[in-house]
Amino acid sequence: MLQLEDVHTRYGNIEALKGVSVEVRQGEIVTIIGSNGAGKSTLLMTICGSPQAAAGRILLNGEDITRTAPYDIVHLGISQAPEGRRIFARMSVLENLQMGSVPSGGRHFEEDVQKVFTLFPRLKERINQRGGTLSGGEQQMLCIGRALMARPRLLLLDEPSLGIAPILVRQIFNAIVEINKEQGLTILLVEQNAFQALKIAHRAYVLSTGRVVMEGAGRELLANPEVRAAYLEGGQKEVA
C-alpha cells in the first residue's frame, strides 16, 4: 500500500532521514521504534509531505506522492495523529472531530462521530468540553478520533502513549487493534513504548539516527536480544 524508497529528508543542514526504505502492506499494523531523535516523527511528517523528501520516492498504491502537497495527501487517504496531539484547544471536542471530517467532505459526519464515540466512550461524555481542558489521555483519544474522521485508508500514529498512564495506554492500544481488525484499517505506528507496540505489530522497523537498522515481524523483534537490550530492558546499549 505504502512504499518508501531510499527517502532522505533534511532540515537545513541536518539530514534527519538518510535513505529510509519502509513498506506498509494493506491491512497491516507496522511499527517503527527508535530512540529520541532517530527520525521517527520526521518519517511520518515526510509521508504527509511537510517537509518534503529531498531525495527518494514515496508511493501510495503505486502512485508517486513525493511531491504532493500535504492537504492533497490527506485527501488521498492518509491521515495522521501527530506527535504532541495538537488538539485545537479552544474548540470543543465535537468541533475538533468536525475539523477532522474536512477531507471526507463532512457527508458522514454523524455516523463517523458515533463510530469514534463507540471506540472512545470517554469522548462522548465530554462532547462540548474544550479540547484544551481535556486530560492528556483524553486528548490523545480525541487526536486519534479526529484522524479517523477523515476516513483514511492509512492511519499514521505518532507516539500515542506519550505521557499517558499505563491503564489508558492499554485502552488506546486495544482501540488501535480494534480499528485494524474490524475496519481493516492499515496502521503505521511510531512508538517509544516498544514493548506494547511490538506486541500488536505485524511487522516492525528499528530506526536509528535516520537509518533503518533492523526489520522483521513484531514478535521476532520482541524476542531479539539486541532490541531487548536497547529498547526494552533499560535501553542502555546502542543498536549497531
Binding site: I87, N128, G132, R146
Partner: protein
C-alpha cells in the same frame, strides 16, 4: 488572614511602588518637566522639577495603595467572576441581545432624545462596528494580526471617490466594485505575508497601510494628493436624491414623498444605509463561522501543523481571510466617501487602524456583540469627553488600561461552539467554565 498577607506584602509593595515612581520620574522629565516658552532668542526651555517630583510622588503613593489593596484581593475567588458570567450569558443569549440591539438601532433616529448630532454619532459608531466586524474575520477568527486594515478602508473610499467623480457612477454601482478592489488588495497583501505570524506579520501589515497612504498622498495626478477628492456623489434612495433643489428632470426625495425638505433626511438615510451594510457584514460573518472555511480559520489560528495534517490548505485559508476582511473594509470605505463627500489621505492614518484593532481586541476577539460594545465605548468616550477636551485622551487611555487589567481577553471574550450534535441534551456550552490553561492564550 488578610493581616498576615499584607505584612508580607508591604516590602514587596514598597519596592514595586519605588520602581513605578522611578519609571514615572523618567517619563515625566521630558513630558511635564520641560516647558517651551517663547523667550528672548527664540524658544526658551523652562525646567519644572518640582512638578515632576510631585507627579512621581503621586505615582508612588497610588501604586503603593494599589499593591496593598490588590494583595488582599488576590486570593483566588471561587467560581467565575461577574464579567465572566456576563460574557457567558451574552454568548448564550446572543440572539436575543442581537435582536434587541437591532430594534434599538432601527428606532433610534425617531426616539425623542434623537437629533441630527445623535444620528451622526450613531453613524460613526456603525462605521466602526462594521470595520470591527470586518477586521474580526482577519484578527478574531483567523488570528492574523493586521495593523494596516485602514489600507482597505482607504482603497474602498478612493475607489468610489474616483469612479464617482470621473466616471460619474452612482454609489450602488460602485459599492460592489469598491469591495472587489479592496479584496484584491487584500490578496496582494496576503501573498507576501503567508509565511509570517504574530509580530512579523503585524510589522508588514503596518508597512502596507503606510504604503497605501503615502501612495495616495503622492500620486497627485490621480488622487489629487493631500488636497483630496471632493464633490463625491451622494447616495440616492432608489434614484431619488436628497437635495433641496434637484437637477432638472429628476425628482428629489422630499418632492416624491410630498414632505418638506430637511437636511436631516439625508443624515437619517445615511444612518440606515450603514446599519444595513453593518448587518449584512454581521450576518455574513456569523454564517461563515459555521462553514468549513470559517472553522478552518479558527483551526489555523490554533495550530497550523495540525491543520496541514487534517487536509486544510493554509494558503487558501489565509488568503480568503485577508480578502474577505478587506472586502468589508472596502464597503465601509465606499460608505465613508459618500457620507463625507470628500476624501483625503488624512482620514486613513495608522491611528485609524489602531482604533479598529482596539475595537476588536477590547470587544473580545471573535465576539460580534463585543465589537459593538467596544465601538460604542471607543467612539462615545471621546465624544462625551468633549466638555473637558484636554483630558479626552487621558480618559481614553485610562479606560483602555483598565479594561486590559480586568478583562485582558476583551470585554466579552467567550467562545461558544459552532457545532452541536444534540442541542437538547448534554451540557450547554455556556456551562463549561473557561479553563485556567487558556487564560494565557
Amino acid at each position: 488572614m488578610p493581616s498576615a498577607v499584607s505584612k508580607q506584602a508591604l516590602p514587596a509593595a514598597l519596592k514595586d511602588a519605588a520602581i513605578a515612581a522611578i519609571v514615572a520620574f523618567i517619563l515625566f522629565l521630558p513630558i511635564i518637566g520641560m516647558q517651551l516658552q517663547p523667550g528672548s532668542g527664540g524658544l526658551d526651555v523652562n525646567f519644572r522639577l518640582p512638578l515632576v517630583l510631585i507627579g512621581a510622588a503621586i505615582v508612588f503613593v497610588g501604586r503603593l495603595l494599589l499593591g496593598l489593596l490588590g494583595s488582599r484581593r488576590r486570593a483566588p475567588r471561587a467560581g467565575p467572576s461577574i464579567m465572566e458570567r456576563v460574557a457567558a450569558g451574552v454568548a448564550a443569549n446572543g440572539r436575543w441581545l442581537g435582536l434587541v440591539g437591532i430594534l434599538f438601532a432601527l428606532t433610534m433616529p425617531f426616539m425623542p432624545f434623537s437629533n441630527r448630532y445623535v444620528v451622526d454619532v450613531g453613524t460613526t459608531v456603525l462605521i466602526y462596528v462594521m470595520l470591527g466586524w470586518g477586521l474580526n474575520i482577519v484578527v478574531g477568527l483567523a488570528g492574523l494580526l493586521d495593523l494596516g486594515y485602514v489600507a482597505f478602508y482607504a482603497v474602498g473610499a478612493y475607489s468610489f471617490a474616483l469612479l464617482g467623480t470621473t466616471a460619474g457612477m452612482g454609489f450602488w454601482y460602485c459599492l460592489p466594485l469598491a469591495g472587489l478592489l479592496a479584496a484584491m488588495f487584500g490578496l496582494l497583501l496576503g501573498f507576501p505575508v503567508l509565511r509570517l505570524r504574530g509580530d512579523y506579520l503585524a510589522i508588514v501589515t503596518l508597512g502596507f497601510g503606510e504604503i497605501i497612504r503615502i501612495v495616495l498622498l503622492n500620486w497627485t495626478n490621480v488622487t489629487n494628493g493631500p488636497n483630496g477628492i471632493s464633490g463625491i456623489p451622494r447616495p440616492s434612495f432608489f434614484g431619488l436624491d436628497f437635495a433641496r433643489s434637484p437637477e432638472p428632470g429628476t425628482t428629489a426625495f422630499h418632492q416624491y414623498f410630498g414632505i418638506p425638505y430637511s437636511g436631516e433626511q439625508r443624515v437619517i438615510y445615511l444612518y440606515f444605509l450603514i446599519l444595513l451594510l453593518a448587518l449584512i457584514t454581521n450576518f455574513f460573518v456569523i454564517r461563515i463561522r459555521r462553514l468549513p472555511i470559517g472553522r478552518a480559520w479558527e483551526a489555523l489560528r490554533e495550530d497550523e501543523i495540525a491543520c496541514k495534517a487534517l487536509g486544510i490548505n493554509p494558503t487558501n485559508t489565509k488568503l480568503t481571510a485577508f480578502a474577505l476582511g478587506a472586502m468589508f473594509g472596502g464597503f465601509a470605505g465606499a460608505f465613508f466617501a459618500t457620507r463625507q463627500g470628500f476624501v483625503s489621505p488624512e482620514s486613513f492614518t495608522f491611528i485609524e487602524s489602531a482604533i479598529i484593532l482596539a475595537i476588536v481586541v477590547l470587544g473580545g476577539m471573535g465576539s460580534q456583540i463585543g465589537v459593538v460594545l467596544a465601538a460604542i465605548i471607543i467612539v462615545l468616550l471621546p465624544e462625551l469627553g468633549r466638555d473637558f477636551a484636554q483630558y479626552r485622551m487621558l480618559i481614553f487611555g485610562a479606560a483602555m488600561v483598565g479594561i486590559m487589567i480586568w478583562r485582558p481577553r476583551g470585554l466579552l471574550a467567550h467562545r461558544s461552539p459552532t457545532v452541536l450534535l444534540h442541542p437538547k441534551g448534554g451540557p450547554r456550552p455556556a456551562d463549561v467554565p473557561p479553563s485556567v490553561k487558556e487564560a494565557g492564550a
